[in-house]
Amino acid sequence: MVKEKRNGTGKSSLLLLGFMLLGSFLSAAAQDRIKIELNMGQERPRLAVPDFKAANGDPQTAPLNTVFNQVLWNDLDNAGIFDMVAKSFYPSQTPGQPAELQAKAWGDPPPNAGVLTFGSLGVNNGKVDVQGWLYDVKNPGAPQILGKQYKEDATPDMARMIAHRFADEIIARLGSGIAGIAESQIYFVSTRSGNKEIWSMDYDGANQKQITKLGSIALSPRISPDGSRLAFSGLTRDSWQIMMYSLELGRTVAFPRNAGDNFSPAWASDGTKIAFASTIHSGLSEIFVADANGAGARRLSTGKGDVSPVFNPKTNGQIAWVSGRTGLPQIYVMDADGSNVQKMTDQGYAVSPAWSPNGLLLAFAWVRNYGPGVLGGSDIYLMDIASRQIIQLTHDGGRNDFPSWSPDGRHIVFQSNRTGNEQIWSVLADGTHLQQLTRQGRNSQPNWSFK
């Protein structure tokens, strides 16, 4: 018998090692780059957020104060830019106004805070009055950073809204250029009314309410940049049409219909244009762009099965979309006039591109190895467009799809079936602060507002 040669395996394992090392460098570099593009490479100021004091004994004061405090804490924690001082380290005395503040008690260890919020909330004659301050407790010289006063009707919803506004003010001050998202909205598809309709909710999952009452199937909600109109694709008696719902008027308004099927609308960030997919030209789905009122539709793409366009929100000069022109769906990018087509992914099953607000990253859903026996799971990935480097955000291989970016470019909302059926989740783009936002019915296709 001939002696079997075994040397070949040694060489290939060395090569493999080499690639692994190289790969780890590349992904480390990719992570650094993407971290910077996500504004995540920074240290975090230490922020203490003691409960606001109840200003009086009115029976409504205590419950509203509880709501306010919880929402304020969550908003500041969820922003992911603060190192929240643990409550167990707080000194026993909490100030309700500047005169009561003992800065050293907060700035020294154990709390060791850099910045402190505090204030008071009271209900008088059916109005809730909130006074809040933000102080730099390390600097004995000029400590006040913010002082705010709010007065609204005394309801839990208003207490939430005030907390959101105050949190956003704090983030605007301390976020060194990063906007707060506490007042933003998420639009999504839900089956809980019996059929698929478009719903909305606060960014933290509160105030979920039904918007459309099509009575058929409504998909792919996309809110306009100014928040006044909601575009979506709805099934009429015999075709899919792009429909426009006016949140101001509380009803759908006229939007041109055509004799084909129309899907997946998307807004340019200046509100002047809408991109969508339509079969009107060839019977197969292609990308069109029209004015915001639907006039002047122009065909941009010539693929088979093109869908899910999205504008680069920073420049509006490019559109990313999904095409099945080579077989399994892949992500492509072209200039907004249809030229300069580039293929961004080249394997697996890639869908649902979402462009980050700073124009540097694409989030998308991807199955790297797609085949007939595969259960159809996909994970969310982030791609740095300039370098084409990719980072994986979800790892469970369940069905994670439809990522959408927050206005601060640091959070992603997506649909996932990790609990057994489709629900909507939000997460900071580095994987922390994962939260389930919906629980009732099946919920999908989330879209985060522009502001």
Binding site: Q42, R44, S88, N112, N139, P140, S176, H395, V427
Partner: protein, 262 residues
């Protein structure tokens, strides 16, 4: 049967070389892993981004009518009862703490070391020793930022800054901190030619306008290394806004970037 026996006998004769090769390659493998592990500790490793499998996820109910106390997240990677940025420090370091009421002395260089924050805990790796010099004063544990002027070293950023408006830093230490954080986080050192061994310093000067956006970003003094100059410029240029200026219409800032950092 005899045939099979003969084969086995034949192979046994030849076991020395394969075993040696096997031991050799295993040793090489172990060595490579060790090297990889050490090297990868300088950067983050490939798979520690994102949501992990088996992450304990706590559903946080935030309802308007029934206020429910926030559940503590277990196994959460970042939020925990830590005193601050230094929570993954394995060893206690002699830390030079300036007295709490220290007033920043204008013009005096106060060496301050800010540590690179740990973004994710490495479940499979030992805590990373952060290579900072002994005088490190991590943010939040030391005194206030020394006014408008100071030098900074983190794991990947060595340099300093100076705000030309003397009062500004005293009054708005929190704003100065924010600018410093953004710039140091934006500096991509792997853009620089790695062959540089001798220390070089690039000076960048820029204005922060009323709305917080950097303007007039220019190279005040070249380091002599083009890739270092460029990476320093880009660190500032990448930033859209530092946040609205708390006072005034414009403030001029100098940043310097030292390379190599150690």
């Amino acid at each position: 049967m005899a045939y099979a026996k003969a084969n086995i006998f034949y192979e046994r004769e030849e076991w020395k070389k394969p075993v040696l090769l096997s031991v050799g390659f295993h040793g090489l493998l172990v060595l490579s892993i060790a090297v990889w592990g050490y090297v990868a500790q300088q950067h983050s490793t490939a798979n520690d981004w994102g949501i992990k499998q088996g992450d304990a996820v706590t559903a946080q109910l935030v309802s308007a009518s029934i206020p429910i106390p926030k559940a503590e997240q277990s196994d959460n990677i970042v939020a925990n009862e830590s005193k601050g940025v230094t929570q993954t420090q394995p060893e206690a370091k002699p830390v030079e703490q300036p007295p709490d009421d220290a007033v920043p002395i204008q013009g005096k260089v106060k060496p301050q070391k800010i540590e690179k924050p740990v973004q994710q805990a490495h479940v499979t790796q030992p805590p990373r020793p952060v290579p900072t010099p002994e005088t490190a004063v991590p943010y939040g544990e030391g005194g206030p930022v020394s006014g408008p002027f100071g030098s900074v070293t983190t794991a990947n950023y060595k340099g300093g800054f100076s705000f030309q408006n003397a009062d500004f830093g005293g009054k708005y230490g929190w704003y100065v901190d924010g600018v410093k954080r953004r710039v140091q986080a934006n500096w991509l050192t792997y853009e620089i030619d790695p062959r540089i061994k001798a220390p070089h310093r690039a000076f960048i000067e820029f204005d922060i306008t009323r709305d917080g956006s950097p303007a007039n970003v220019h190279l005040a003094q070249s380091s002599g290394v083009p890739s270092l100059d460029q990476s320093a410029m880009r660190a500032i240029q990448r930033i859209d806004s530092f946040g609205k200026l708390p006072e005034g219409n414009s403030v001029t800032v100098d940043f310097w970037f030292d390379y190599p950092p150690k």
